[in-house]
Every structure is written in structure tokens, then in C-alpha cells.
Amino acid sequence: MIIVNSETLNTLDSYSKNKYKYGFVTDIDSEKPRKGLNEKIIKYISSKKNEPSWLLEWRLSSFRKWKKMKEPDWANLNFPKIDYQDIYYYSAPKGFKDKPKDLSEVDPKLIETYNKLGIPLEEQKVLAGVAVDVVFDSVSVATTYKGELEKLGIIFCSIGEAIQKHPNLIKKYLGSVIPPGDHSFSALNSAVFTDGSFVYIPKNVKCPMELSTYFRINSENTGQFERTLIIADKGSYVSYLEGCTAPKRDDNQLHAANVELIALEDAEIKYSTVQNWYPGDEEGKGGIYNFVTKRGLCAGKNSKISWTQVETGSAITWKYPSCILKGDNSIGEFYSVAITNNYQQADTGTKMTHIGKNTKSKIISKGISLGKSQNTYRGEVTFLRKSDKARNYTQCDSLLVGNQCGAHTVPYIDSKNNTAVIEHEASTSKINEDQLYYCRQRGLSHEEAVSLIVNGFCKQVLQELPMEFAVEAQKLVSISLEGSVG
């Protein structure tokens, strides 16, 4: 027994030296107005982006709502009060008055940054078949494969651009799934959102490639408040992937994004996230505060929205990608892996609201806690009165590695329909010593064995990711465990 413990401790120790390889800073001049949140800055953002007046009004009214609201406090999270006046709400690489027309106009330093991150912007080098929109601090810097998508009538651009070019779609759908007054973070985002992606897939078009946005926070003390809106018109399909990184900094940085998805009749949206914001160091210093609201509306019959997330980064994660299953026969899915290490805290899960008949939802959540971290699954499944024959299946498993971390499961299950069926299973256990022994007897090191077993534990979720990213995600899982391997 004694030997096991010391070995395990050694391995744990090596985990905690987690190296965050995306932690570099790009030395680039940026344009920033003063810190602080007030009507002036909102007007500044709006005018920078040349927005119509209704949108400025929308922002200001969101801001007024925000002023009256308190942060939601029910999550299992502990962090010092956020000083909203000590944050920059807008930061753009200098000389970015207009979005560059092509890559030759982009600062070479930026291109280099993305190369370093493994996201080459030159189209020919882009992962085959993936179109990428890149958001650097507050602005979108490049969208690849645009031409090809336009031929199909697909709109894939920054939300700023969409506001200029597709005002009707924006007016109709912005805030339609997440009303600004929903809670304080959605109000905040609605007031100060800077950039993000916009996607519209026309009727009966199956988007032939993965659409991907890559978010990066570079500037110090800068909040990132992106807003993403995806509309899949009748009979269409799109798979969308989001990645994120940030430099290592001693201060905490705020990220409060809003993502709205709308699937009309027979449409399907698959949304995958690999969240790898800077998690802070071994002592819990620094790291991103990630307060994200993601919500999808299955508006039409037979529509489907599927969320897959691999959450390894951020000091604090507060995130519940949800589905409102309004259309009859619509389907919502949530697949999640959340790994917390050192002093990270994650409170994440989903909300499935069954409104329509015959709606189905599935939740698979895998939580892994290491170090001194706290990892909470929080999920709500509701069957409303009219949701005849609705079904939900939920499985949430937690794995504990080390005895100073915590794993928590908090499901809310509410049924108001007597033909609907809910099934929920959850388990918590430590990593299985017999499995470790077996792998090591075959010659794998303790670390390799842990990583293999944890990857196996997460497999149900990882296999939901688009092919190109599944491998990356697997590596990321291993890195979050090992640190030294990265």
C-alpha cells in the first residue's frame, strides 16, 4: 500500500507541473479605450463597429438591466469579486480599422501567433476541409475559405460583419434564444460584446466542411465578450468547432461569451468546443474566468442540436450548454469531458427543456478531478406538460485522482408529463488500481497508464468530436493529466 501511494504522489506531482504551451504573449500594439464599464464605453464599441442605432439602444438597455442584477450565486465556485471597472472592454490590434481584405494585410506577427498555436491562416495550409474564423482579443482577424462557402449561400463571417451586411437576420435572431435579461452575464455580454462568429446555413444545404472559430485573448486585463449566432435553416446541417487559448498571466481575465443556436425544421447543428483557456499556475494564480452562456433552440420539428465539449482550461468554468426542445421530435444532446487540476474549479453541465412532443435528449458527462480542484456536474432536465412521450437519458461519471480534490454531481430532474421517461445514472469512483496494474504489467509507465485509462473513460464523449479534432482532444486530455508531455 505504501508504495502505491508514493508512486501515485510522484505522478500527481508531475501532473501539477502542467505546462501550458499556449501561454506566450504576442507583442503587438493594440488600441484600447480606458478600463471600466459605462455607457461611454458601450457607445465607443458601437461606434467603432459602426453599428445601427437600434443595436446601440439594445446594448444600452442590456447595460441598464445588468446594473440591476446580481451574479448568479448557486454554482459551487469560489472566487473573489469581479471588479468590472478594472477591465478593458475593447482591444484591437492597432491598424485594424477595417478587417483586412486578405491575409497579406494581416500583421505578420498575428499570422505567426496562429502558426505557433497550430492554426495556420493561409488557406492552403488550413486543415483540410475546415474553414476558420479567428478572433484576436476583440476583433475577428481572418476568415478562411470564405469564397467557397459563399457559393453555397452559406454565410460565415464575424458578427460585426454580419451586423453590417445581414441586419435583418441579426435583428430577428440576436437575443432570441438568450434574452439579455436572462442573467447578469448575458446582460453583460449583450451590452459589450465585441466580436464573434455568425453562421447562416440556407435551406437544405449541408455545409460541406467544419466551420471553426478560434478565440484568443492576448492583451492584459482585457475581457473577452464574444457573441456567436448560428442559424440553420430548414433541412440544413452544420458542424461547428470552437477553440480557445490565452497567454499566461498572473491576473485573472474575464471571458463571458454568449452563443445562440437556432435549428429550424429538420435542421441539425453540431457544436463542438475544445476549451483550453489558461487555467492558472500550480498555486492557483492567474487563469481565465470563463462564464459562458450557450443555448440552442430546436425551433422546428425534427431538428437536432448537439453540444460536445472538452473543458480542460480556465481557472473557473461556469458553463451550461443547453437545448430548448420546442419542435416536436426534436433532439438535444450534450457530451462533456471536464478535467480540473491544481486549483481549477469547474461547474458545468447542461439544461434540457422538453417542450414539444416526442422530444429526446441525451446527456453524457465525464468529470475528472486532480490536484486540489473542484469539479461539479450540474444539469437540469425538465419535461413540461405538453412533452408527451419525451425521453431523456443521462449518465454522469466522475473520476477522482488524488485525495485533495472534489467531484460533485447535482442533477435537477423535473417531470410534469406522465408519458415522458427520464433515466439518470451517476457514479463516482477513483481511478481503478487494477487497471493501472494491468497496463503497467504490459510495460506502460504509470503516467501513460493513467492517461490511457482516462482517455478510455472519456471515449464516449471524445468520439463525438469531428475526426480532425478527436485526436487533438485526446492529446489535450493527456496533456491536462501529465503536463510534462506537452
Binding site: 448557486w74 406538460r385 466522475s398 477522482l400 485522482v401 488524488g402 485525495n403 485533495q404 480534490c405 472534489g406 467531484a407 460533485h408 454531481t409 447535482v410 442533477p411 435537477y412 430532474i413 423535473d414 417531470s415 410534469k416 408529463n417 406522465n418 408519458t419 415522458a420 421517461v421 427520464i422 433515466e423 439518470h424 445514472e425 451517476a426 457514479s427 463516482t428 469512483s429 477513483k430
Partner: protein
């Protein structure tokens, strides 16, 4: 009438008013009530509660005229009739029954951290007007039956009972609540188990529609002791079962189980909470409910495993069957785990009676209604078949038949 007025007016009739500490504690509770927003969404003790019914009441209590009877028939069988929460003193070499003392009361209010937000327990502490203490003496093995009688209409009974199981003792307690008046009983049981003791606690609840029953229990187990609780709720009036267990020392166990049968407009709120504070303990929390008509139920369960509680085994199961369009069931099975060498799990299902099973039975010639009844019985078969007391089994069987006769 509001809480403060009730308190001011009836202060002199409430227990331990003369005790300074108690008075201070109650002052504090009063300010909690005054400042609380009564958030029904986030406060588990308030979910599905008709606030007006419970927090805007008229205090009324009658000291029972007749003294309750304690019978020691056969050797180890005791039968107690508690009237309006009171019971006469009794003592032999196996048990000792006394009126509740202010030290028993104090002891609880000092450790009452877990329930800051439980307004019903706070009401109980504020208006305490009855209760008793039972000590089961060392190494004895006894059976007790308590009939809880409320004598009049519109009474508000705030009762606190203390049970103390000395080392190596073993007790089986069957409590019956069958009242037909529109009173409200708010009962708090505090149960302490010493080393190697065992407590099998059965609560049979069957009140009429306007009788409200609020039961809260706090059990705590020392080394190798076991607390088993089974709740059978057939009441047509409101019942709240909130049961907390603390496993303080190694090899102790808590098993909190319940079944409830609801119909009409009835509501039942249930909660079980096990705190593992030492290693190598086991816990089990299983609730099953059947809801008909416009009935509503909530079930909160929680397994909390402290950092030192290695080798914990914790299990939770919650099952609900909705028989009608308008019934609703909310469940929240929580795991909070701070130790790594644990095996904890929970399962939860809510749904109608299995259609395939109904179809199967009908294809064998059974009517739909008979099939439904049979499947309801089988749903709780485990809970029924585990009752070894023949008389109790018959009692419960009868109540089940009565409930099923209303199922259409």
C-alpha cells in the same frame, strides 16, 4: 397571524421560555424569518409549499387532559400513546422515558448548523410545545410502538423527541400517524446511536386530507452502529419527510428509505441527506413514489463524503411513477465527494408505468386496470416484502389496497 405576533402572544406557553440561551436563540430565529425572502425556487424547504398555510398560521395548543399510556406487554415490547406530542414518564431496566428537558433542546440548537435554511425546523425551535426523550439502555434489545394522537382541530404541535441508544442496544420502533383533524404536527426527532447499537425506525403515515405532518430527523451514528429508516406515506394530507444522517465513526451505516402514494391535490416533500464523516461507512438512500391526479412531489437526496471518509460506499436511488397527466415529480439526487477512494452512485427514473409490461399482462388476459395495479404493487414489492413484522405488513398491505382502489 404572522410569526412574530404568534410568538409574542404565546411566549409563556412555549417550552423553555425562561432559559436565557434559548431566548437568545429564538430572537435570532425571529430575525431570520423577518429578513428572509422566502425564495421557493432555491430553498429546498420551501419548494412546492403553500407559504400562507404554514407561515401565516394561528398558534393553538392544548395540554392533553388524559395522561398517555405506556404499556409493557410481553417482555421487550412497549406500546406508547403520545397525545398532542406528550407522553408520561416511565422507567424500567431497559428504557427510560422522560419529558424533554431544556438541555436536550439546547444541545440541538447549538449543533443546528446544517439547517440554517430550513424554516420548518426553525419554526419548531421557536414554538416548541411538546416532546419526550427515550433512552434505550446498554445491550438491550427491545421493540416500541408509538401511536401519535392529535386530539383536536386546528392545533399547532411543535414537538421534539430525543432518542438515545446506549452502547450495544438495539431497538425497533414503529410509529403510526393516523389523524383525522385539520391540525399541523411539526416534529423533530434527534436520534443518537452509540457504539454497536442499532435502530430500525418505521414511520407509517396515514393522515386525512387537512392534516399536515412535517417530520424532520437527525440521526448520528458512532462506531459500528446502524440506523435504518423506512417511511410509508399513505397520507391524504401534506407530509414532509426530511431525514438527515451523520456517520461519525467507522463502520457505521445509514439506510434511509421511503415510499409514498399520492393522489388528488396532495403534495409531499422528501429529502434524505447522508454525511460521511469517517471511513469505511455505508449509506443507502432509496425513495419511490407513485403520483396520481394532480399530486406533486419533490425528492432531494444527497451523499456528502468528507475528505477523511475513505472507502465509503454510498448509493442513491429515486424512482417515480406518474399515473396522471397532471401529476409532477421533481428530484435532485446530489453527490458531493471530497475523498477519492469511494464508490458512490445514484440512479433516478421518472416515467409512466412500463407500457410493454402492461401490454404483456393484457395479452395474458388481464384488464388494463388490473395490470396497472399489479405493476404498482411490484414497483414497491421490495419495500413491502422486507417487512418482517406480520402485523405491520398487514396494516401496510391494507393501505396499499385502499390506494389502489382509487386508481383508474
Amino acid at each position: 397571524m404572522n410569526i412574530l405576533d404568534n410568538y409574542q402572544k404565546n411566549k409563556k406557553n412555549i417550552f423553555f421560555t425562561e432559559n436565557k440561551d434559548v431566548q437568545n436563540y429564538r430572537e435570532k430565529l425571529l430575525t431570520i424569518f423577518e429578513n428572509d425572502r422566502f425564495d421557493r425556487k432555491n430553498n429546498e424547504s420551501l419548494k412546492n409549499i403553500n407559504l400562507k398555510n404554514f407561515f401565516d398560521f394561528k398558534y393553538k395548543y392544548l395540554v392533553p387532559e388524559e395522561i398517555s399510556v405506556i404499556n409493557n406487554y410481553q417482555d421487550d415490547n412497549y406500546s406508547i400513546v403520545s397525545i398532542n406530542g406528550q407522553c408520561s414518564n416511565f422507567k424500567d431496566d431497559k428504557i427510560e422515558i422522560t419529558k424533554i428537558l431544556d438541555e436536550d433542546y439546547n444541545d440541538f440548537s447549538k449543533n443546528n448548523i446544517i439547517e440554517k435554511n430550513d424554516h420548518f425546523v426553525n419554526l419548531n425551535s421557536l414554538f416548541l410545545n411538546s416532546g419526550f426523550k427515550i433512552v434505550i439502555k446498554k445491550n438491550n434489545n427491545i421493540k416500541i410502538k408509538i401511536s401519535n394522537i392529535v386530539t383536536d382541530d386546528a392545533l399547532t404541535i411543535f414537538q421534539k423527541n430525543n432518542y438515545f441508544c446506549e452502547e450495544g442496544s438495539s431497538v425497533s420502533l414503529i410509529e403510526e400517524y393516523e389523524n383525522k383533524n385539520n391540525s399541523t404536527s411539526n416534529i423533530l426527532n434527534v436520534i443518537k446511536l452509540e457504539k454497536n447499537s442499532k435502530f430500525n425506525h418505521f414511520l407509517i403515515q396515514d393522515n386525512s386530507p387537512n392534516h399536515n405532518l412535517i417530520i424532520t430527523s437527525h440521526s448520528s451514528c458512532k462506531k459500528a452502529s446502524t440506523y435504518n429508516q423506512k417511511v410509508y406515506n399513505f397520507s391524504e394530507g401534506y407530509v414532509r419527510n426530511f431525514h438527515y444522517s451523520k456517520l461519525l465513526e467507522t463502520n457505521s451505516e445509514a439506510d434511509l428509505q421511503g415510499i409514498f402514494f399520492l393522489k388528488d391535490n396532495n403534495t409531499s416533500n422528501n429529502k434524505t441527506f447522508v454525511k460521511h464523516l469517517a471511513g469505511e461507512c455505508k449509506s443507502n438512500q432509496v425513495y419511490k413514489g407513485i403520483l396520481n391526479d394532480r399530486a406533486k412531489a419533490t425528492y432531494f437526496s444527497n451523499t456528502h463524503v468528507d475528505q477523511v471518509a475513505q472507502k465509503t460506499e454510498g448509493y442513491q436511488l429515486s424512482k417515480g411513477i406518474l399515473l396522471s397527466d397532471n401529476a409532477s415529480y421533481f428530484s435532485k439526487p446530489e453527490l458531493k465527494i471530497y475523498a477519492d477512494d469511494v464508490k458512490c452512485s445514484h440512479g433516478s427514473t421518472i416515467g409512466p408505468i412500463d407500457e410493454n409490461a402492461i401490454f404483456y399482462l393484457r395479452s395474458r388476459g388481464m384488464s388494463k386496470i388490473a395490470a396497472t395495479k399489479m405493476l404498482i404493487s411490484s414497483f414497491i414489492n421490495e419495500e413491502l416484502s422486507s417487512i418482517d413484522d406480520e402485523q405491520m405488513f398487514q396494516t401496510i398491505q391494507k393501505k396499499l389496497v385502499r390506494y389502489l382502489s382509487k386508481v383508474k
